[in-house]
Symmetry: C2
Subunit: 204 residues, 2 copies
């Protein structure tokens, strides 16, 4: 099956949204915890969290300021802090439900049955049910003029993860804590490890 540029541009809008969202491959599944300056909590599922670097430890995510997670972006700008909480298979439905259009004064924690947790004096809320989560300090955002989105960059401050998932070399076995992955807009998947491969070298 071959779709040309013209064919893509003429697709029905919803069909095209599903199609194009499938192309990047599997995506990360994370809940972003924030609060506003009055302490009202907010939680939003995001599939665009991406590793930016380990030295310093940086994480990025793409935000669409005019779509649902806009309260998240506003809270990050107002307070400078947020949490990232991996979604596991036990909380997929609650996590997905955070994408509904709740008002700014409604907390997605209360609405979905996920539980706020405050750890190590960090002011943004964590998700108690998440098994790998970290505190993030906002660094900067870069506006992507090409489509009006924002790349939000943060530094990883404090990491909370189940002991047993950390292997000897520092790799975290996120499959063992049931972390899920997303494809397209709305499909959730468990994983089964195939292999870990050694650092690739050119044969002599």
């Amino acid at each position: 099956m071959h779709f040309t540029t013209d064919a893509i541009s003429q697709l029905d809008k919803h069909f095209r949204t599903h199609l194009i969202n499938s192309l990047s491959g599997f995506k990360s599944a994370n809940l972003i915890g924030t609060q506003d300056s009055a302490g009202n909590t907010n939680l939003a599922i995001v599939s665009s969290v991406i590793h930016l670097g380990a030295h310093p430890p940086l994480v990025g995510m793409i935000m669409r300021p005019h779509s649902v997670p806009r309260h998240t972006f506003e809270n990050i700008l107002a307070t400078g802090v947020y949490t990232i909480n991996q979604v596991n298979s036990e909380i997929v439905e609650q996590a997905h439900q955070t994408s509904a259009r709740y008002d700014k004064n409604e907390s997605e924690f209360d609405a979905t049955g996920l539980t706020t947790e405050y750890l190590a004096n960090f002011s943004a809320p964590f998700v108690a049910q998440s098994r790998l989560k970290y505190a993030v300090k906002f660094v900067e955002h870069q506006h992507l003029a090409v489509n009006g989105t924002e790349l939000v960059i943060g530094e990883i401050i404090d990491l909370h993860v189940e002991d047993s998932a950390i292997l000897e070399d520092g790799f975290i076995d996120i499959e063992s804590i049931n972390t899920v992955t997303i494809s397209g807009l709305d499909s959730y998947h468990k994983t089964h490890a195939i292999t870990r491969l050694p650092y690739a070298k050119k044969p002599r």
Copy 2:
């Protein structure tokens, strides 16, 4: 287990690289096909491809100009075109091997046994063994001064995918074509679908 900022900064460098690379969650697995202006082909595995938007159809990836995929970035700047090819479970080892430090005049296609394929008059090479692949026209790169990486943004031009994987609503069942996902630096995973969830609405 709780790692503070200080604890993270004092970790052994390799341990820390594995640890921090695990935090974003599951990553996409794609091969980037390019050629230089003399027609020498290049292929590099990248785990940072990310959906940026469907209208227009845009895709991003993070490149580290001073690490292995630097030839890829140079070729994109020189020619303005590249291909993105999803990695499936049949080609995991060859795909991973493209991350070795080959010289600029050595093609990772030849070195790993993956096959070049030219489709619809597009000048960058596709991977014949990939079952979902698309032609991309370079749009721009944004320098992330915070750690010297580049966000490379491209427009999706031409899509090639197996017919049977496209569902009625446009969603592509990438699990059915054995697309894999990556965790950390070097762990490859198959997936098993849990559920597709409807567009979330606030209960009345």
